[in-house]
Symmetry: C2
């Protein structure tokens, strides 16, 4: 199969596949015309790459999985190096989720505080210490 067909089968583009090759992730045979040719094993490798990328893995992080497939394993995560990447990614995900959760709480508290201040201003005091500043400097009306 040629590069266009592989791209279609794997749900990606020819540009991405050439890029993988340039990174040493997807070596290609050539036919008489100099065109790249691939087989089912290459398709499995590309699918492995796409799956991991959907999980947020960087290209380099997919390398152990691809090499594991090329070594003949049925699954890309049958090799120790792949498991190491899994574990590292789990730690990354946990710390990212924790950080994002903390930020979420801070933003939520800021929003609640700002809304409270706005409501109090609207309800009670129509100018406690001078004229109100005008929001939206460059308003379009």
């Amino acid at each position: 199969m040629r590069i266009g067909e592989l791209a279609a089968e794997a749900g990606t583009t020819t540009r991405a596949l050439r890029y993988y090759e340039s990174r040493g992730l997807l070596p290609a045979r050539r036919d008489g015309n100099g065109h790249r040719t691939y087989d089912e094993r290459d398709l499995a490798q590309v699918r492995q790459i796409r799956t991991l990328q959907d999980f947020g893995f960087g290209l380099e992080e997919t390398r152990p999985f691809v090499e594991c497939l090329r070594a003949g394993h049925a699954e890309g995560d049958s090799c120790p190096a792949s498991l190491v990447v899994y574990r590292r990614k789990l730690e990354e995900l946990d710390s990212m989720i924790e950080r994002l959760g903390a930020v979420r709480e801070k933003v939520a508290r800021q929003l609640a505080r700002a809304e409270r201040a706005r409501d109090e201003l609207a309800a009670g005091a129509p100018a406690p210490g001078g004229p109100e500043p005008v929001c939206e400097l460059g308003g379009r009306g």
Copy 2:
């Protein structure tokens, strides 16, 4: 105050401040030598930018807050446009956290499955359907 001092006070760099200016976020007066001069209000604006960036806001997202401060408000989130950004960011954070949580579970399940397969292979069958493929192609030993 000049740009170096402002950068030190705000915990950033002169390069970042000039970048903000180039984006129209931080207009600067000039002294006789053509040097940028700033006051306390500029400092407050820069601090607002940094705080939001620590929360993961992009520069453009800080703009309503900065303009709100420049309009004379004591807080950058006293204006409706800032609240809109808060709410949008909360939604983004929620969906990101949800996505990451789902990915985390998938990766954890993949890891568990792969470890189980490895253990079963090590314990039971030392070659059920042919020779084992060799992991780590380019091993360094």
